[in-house]
């Protein structure tokens, strides 16, 4: 809470620094802006950056590092009491101390040692905050002083401010990359633990998926087979069904919208199609599980086929409908991007509209359409909710779309929901599945982006 107030105060000071710097720049040339090297707002920003940036950076670093530092100091203060404890016990003790210090409920009655440590903890936290506030105040006022002192008509404020802004932009883009790397790393560490228990070869090529492991040593029924092939096969089957639905329908809808529809029709049809993308996937899940699944089972029975009520077909079909807008919207955009001059050229040779579409427009926009389809595939592979509700849990290795299959995402959900030790092979298998899934969709996205980029160079 106090930290928030501190940050608000810092931001307020920065705003003040901006206005003051701007005014000082103006008065330094007696209002004749043309005599300044940079516009007054750059001078203001220059002072504001001097004033706010160092302090905010220090506060941020302090907040990140302080907790760890304080905990180390608290532990070293009670080093006699904890000698001989395991790592897990120490971490449990530490969370007790933390809970006591922040006034939460502790898991057991605190011992005097814990109480003393908690008091120490509170004391250190307060000291840390005071030091941080002091550092921030010194940096802010120092920055304000230096910034204002530097202001004079010849100050090259604009290049300096722009250089800092460029760094901010760089940091913003790095954050996305770092997040991706972080996700990969977190998946990888857990996966490595999993592969310590299960042979990677067995995981990738085994044909039986039955992740039930025994909770206790004397428990029966937990065989624990981690052959992921049926799971990936199920994902593939459902994705293929979804693409069989989505690609032709999406593509034809795109051709209609881009080439045949009148502007009025287009302005109605396109948003209507895009509504499909806005429906929550849970709702698609209901639809697949409660309407389409039973419908297929009934239809199958009436012609003598046995259809599971949770069939790959139902899930794939509904998923296909869900991703129609991905295909249609992106394809529509690339078809529209084909220059009118190509259409004119084709019409002027006496080609009909359908000949022009088939032989000129589609080939010219093929790369973009392939990109759209690949993006839709990675969306279908990663889709979870529909398959959780409609595709079932049994890991059948089958190509028959009328049977129940399971997918990678469904298995991840079921593995992580429920009571299981966190370091058992069953739980860790979810991370290994997640890693493989992530790598596949990442590869698809990279390929899709490359294809789309190549398409951009196509004309001119």
């Amino acid at each position: 809470m106090n930290t928030i107030i501190l940050i608000i105060v810092l931001l307020g000071l920065t705003t003040f620094a901006y206005r003051y710097g701007r005014r000082k720049a103006l008065t330094s040339v007696e209002g004749r802006v043309a005599n300044l090297h940079s516009l007054p707002s750059y001078h203001g920003a220059y002072v504001a950056l001097w004033c706010g940036l160092p302090a905010l950076i220090v506060v941020a670093l302090w907040l990140i590092l302080q907790t760890d530092l304080v905990e180390r100091m608290v532990l070293s203060g009670i080093s006699d009491g904890i000698s001989g404890m395991t790592k897990g016990q120490i971490s449990l003790l530490l969370s007790d101390i933390r809970n006591l210090a922040t006034g939460d409920i502790t898991s057991r009655t605190p011992s005097p040692m814990v109480q003393a440590a908690a008091a120490h903890y509170v004391e250190l936290q307060r000291l840390g905050f005071m030091l941080m506030t002091g550092a921030a105040v010194i940096l802010t006022s120092g920055g304000l002083y230096f910034g204002l002192k530097a202001i004079q008509p010849t100050l090259r404020a604009r290049p300096q401010v722009e250089r800092i802004v460029r760094w901010l932009l760089l940091i913003a883009s790095v954050i996305a990359i770092l997040t991706t790397i972080g996700i990969i790393l977190s998946l990888m560490f857990e996966s490595i633990r999993f592969f310590g228990q299960v042979n990677p070869i067995e995981f990738l090529f085994g044909l039986t998926w039955s992740p039930q492991t025994a909770l206790r040593a004397d428990q029966v029924g937990g065989s624990g087979a981690f052959g992921a092939v049926p799971v990936f096969a199920g994902t593939l089957l459902i994705t293929v069904i979804a693409m069989i639905v989505a690609v032709p329908i999406g593509l034809m809808a795109a051709i209609y919208m881009a080439e045949y529809a009148s502007p009025t029709t287009r302005s109605l049809v396109k948003p209507a199609l895009e509504i499909l993308a806005g429906i929550p996937t849970v709702v698609y899940g209901f639809f697949a599980a409660l309407t389409i699944g039973p419908l297929f089972r009934g239809a199958g029975e009436s012609i003598g086929l046995s259809v599971a009520s949770e069939s790959a077909l139902a899930a794939g079909l509904v998923m296909g409908v869900m991703i129609i807008p991905f295909v249609s919207s992106l394809s529509d955009d690339v078809i529209n991007a084909v220059p009118q001059s190509l259409r004119d050229g084709s019409y002027a040779l006496g080609a009909t509209q359908s000949e022009t579409i088939r032989q000129v427009i589609l080939p010219a926009s093929l790369h973009g359409i392939v990109g759209a389809i690949l993006l839709a595939v990675s969306r279908a592979i990663g889709e979870t909710m529909i398959v959780v509700m409609a595709a079932g849990l049994s890991a059948n290795l089958t190509a028959n779309p009328l049977e129940a299959v399971t997918t990678v995402t469904v298995q991840i959900v079921t593995l992580l929901v429920g009571d299981q030790e966190f370091d058992s092979a069953k739980t860790l298998a979810a991370f290994a599945l997640g890693l493989v899934l992530f790598l596949v969709t990442l590869a698809l996205n990279v390929v899709a982006l490359r294809v789309v980029r190549k398409y951009r160079e196509e004309y001119d």
């Binding site: 009148s262 220059p339 001059s341 190509l342 259409r343 004119d344 050229g345 084709s346 019409y347 002027a348 040779l349 006496g350 080609a351 009909t352 000949e355 032989q359 000129v360 080939p363 010219a364 196509e458 004309y459 001119d460």
Partner: protein, 288 residues
């Protein structure tokens, strides 16, 4: 009402011309058949509208066979609109409406019985900006003959591609790389590829809408030479902004202004002794 003087010097009185609007601008479209250049395309009282805006006012013009006819005039004068009436390219613009008669070889091209696909096979068009399809050079030329079923088998198409490229003066430059993309050629080569593509369907008339405005002077000279060769076999109508180009390549010139056909006749006459003061002003650079 005036008389047009033909290149050959025949003087003929004439059927006349028209004006739609209140100010009754005298347009004169004095063209008739003279051997050896009979009228190929004949426009009579053509109006064109984009939605409510009228772009052409009662244009009547005769285009003689095996001649290059240049349409000149300031921007927005309707010369491109008129050109696009001749192969009904304006049909592809939903808001565009054309009235009046245009005949090619005495056949009304706006007759409902006429198939626009066949019309456009007879009337080829080359555009302002080279627009080769993003296909190979070979496929660009083979496209037209294929959609019209003009060739049986690969050998036929090979021949057609070769002869079209030869007539467009591009064969020697591309014969070793027919498989490369048409878009990889230079601007001037692309434009000649577009001409070859138009020739490949064996049209009677070739329309060119400022075909050199995106090209450098050398490529322009190349295309102008080509036009002169092509007129042996085709009737060419060219829209151009360059009066020098009109003077160099055309035998007939028509001057458009604000949607009216002001004057038309032998190029020599238009450039040396125009009837209308507006033509005079335009060609001497007083406006436009």
């Amino acid at each position: 009402m005036t008389e047009a003087i033909y290149v050959e010097g025949t003087v003929r009185p004439d059927e006349e011309s028209v004006t739609g609007m209140s100010e009754a601008i005298e347009t004169d479209t004095t063209e008739t058949e003279t051997a050896p250049f009979p009228t190929k395309v004949k426009a009579n009282n053509v109006d064109a509208f984009y939605a409510e805006k009228q772009a052409l006012f009662g244009v009547s013009l005769d285009v003689p066979e095996n001649q290059v006819t240049a349409l000149i005039g300031p921007s927005g004068c309707g010369k491109s609109t008129f050109l696009r009436c001749i192969n009904r390219m304006n049909d592809t613009i939903p808001i565009c409406r054309v009235t009046g008669d245009i005949t090619i070889d005495e056949q009304d091209i706006y007759d409902p019985a006429i198939d626009v696909v066949q019309l456009r096979a007879r009337v080829g068009m080359v555009f302002q900006k080279p627009n080769p399809f993003p296909k190979s050079i070979y496929e660009n030329v083979a496209y037209g003959p294929r959609i019209h079923g003009m060739a049986q088998g690969k050998a036929d198409i090979d021949d057609l591609v070769e002869s079209s490229l030869q007539r467009a003066g591009l064969w020697n430059e591309v014969k070793d790389r027919l498989g490369e993309s048409g878009t990889s050629l230079s601007g001037g080569q692309q434009q000649r590829l577009c001409i070859a593509r138009a020739i490949a369907v064996n049209p009677d008339v070739i329309l060119m809408d400022e075909p050199c405005s995106a090209l450098d002077p050398i490529a322009t000279a190349r295309i102008e030479e080509l036009m002169d060769e092509l007129r042996q076999n085709y009737t060419i109508v060219i829209v151009t902004h360059s009066m020098q180009q009109a003077a160099r390549v055309s035998q007939r010139t028509a001057f458009f202004h604000l949607g009216y056909l002001v004057e038309s006749g032998a190029t020599e006459m238009i450039f040396t002794n125009p009837e209308d003061t507006r033509t005079q002003d335009y060609i001497t650079g007083r406006f436009g």
